[in-house]
């Protein structure tokens, strides 16, 4: 059995919590521990926060979040924006790297730490896609 959740919303700070709660509730319908669901919440929060904070500068844009529970029971979350993209992805993923003041550059580190796999694709001027996998509990 597979299941899928799709969200699309304007890149506004107040929507970050909505997305994280929706994906966490969706994940809770699968075979995940409470700790796993907390991990997923943090990872979704970070990925969606990045789309809101970094993708569109002071302008507006849309964020898409797609969560899928596959036949194995694993959860994939994709967070996509059509914003400015990331020039140097390797550098952006380093812990402590941030282009905003008062930010610590921990978002990618947290996504990596709390999920089982993380892929990031980005093309400058076109946008960024973050894909994260959380395996069902064995």
């Amino acid at each position: 059995m597979t299941n899928r959740l799709f969200l699309k919303f304007p890149a506004k700070a107040e929507n970050v919590q909505v997305a994280r709660v929706a994906v966490a509730t969706f994940a809770a319908s699968g075979e995940f521990t409470l700790g796993d669901v907390e991990d997923i919440k943090i990872a979704v929060q970070e990925a969606v926060s990045n789309a809101v904070l970094h993708a569109y500068g002071n302008g507006t844009g849309e964020v898409e979040v797609e969560a899928t529970l596959d036949g194995r029971g694993d959860l994939t979350v994709i967070v996509r924006d059509n914003g400015k993209g990331i020039d140097d992805l390797k550098r952006a993923r380093e812990p402590g790297f941030s282009t905003l003041e008062e930010h610590m550059g921990l978002g990618f580190s947290f996504m990596e730490a709390f999920m089982d796999s993380l892929w990031v694709e980005s093309s400058p001027g076109r946008g960024t896609t973050v894909r994260m996998l959380k395996k069902r509990c064995p």
């Binding site: 700070a13 970050v16 919590q17 907390e38 929060q45 926060s49 904070l53 930010h103």
Partner: protein
């Protein structure tokens, strides 16, 4: 996010409950900074027991308060830190930077304030 403050002559106690994240970190910063300014207290004891959710923006806000307090010559410690938040602070490389204690008594003892508090009130549980 909800913040309550407790003032003593030697430190400012602050208890945070709820979400400390992108949508609340700004308010957290503002309220803590203004309370420090208003009271002139330099030592901050932050109780994190009731924090249900924290993200990297919330972690950055805590570190920012630590930097402010330190720059003013004060001390900041954390008490009653939930395990998950502890793990996130470690991931953030703040493992040894901001001292963490199990409870207020331990924090006061480590800050050299335990005796003063005892003398004054005979009771050491104001931010609990």
């Amino acid at each position: 996010m909800h913040l309550t403050f407790h003032k003593t002559p030697w430190f400012l106690g602050a208890r945070v409950t709820g979400d400390l994240d992108l949508s609340t970190a700004g308010e957290f910063k503002e309220k803590v900074d203004s309370e420090i300014r208003k009271t002139g207290l330099l030592n901050l004891i932050l109780n994190l027991k009731g924090v249900g959710f924290i993200d990297s923006t919330g972690i950055a806000a805590i570190l920012g308060r630590y930097k402010n307090v330190s720059a003013l010559g004060g001390k900041m410690v954390l008490i009653d830190v939930p395990e998950r938040i502890s793990a996130m602070l470690d991931l953030a490389g703040m493992g040894s930077l901001i001292p963490r204690f199990r409870d207020l008594e331990e924090a006061l003892a480590a800050m050299g304030l335990g005796e003063k508090m005892g003398e004054k009130t005979g009771e050491v549980r104001p931010v609990d």
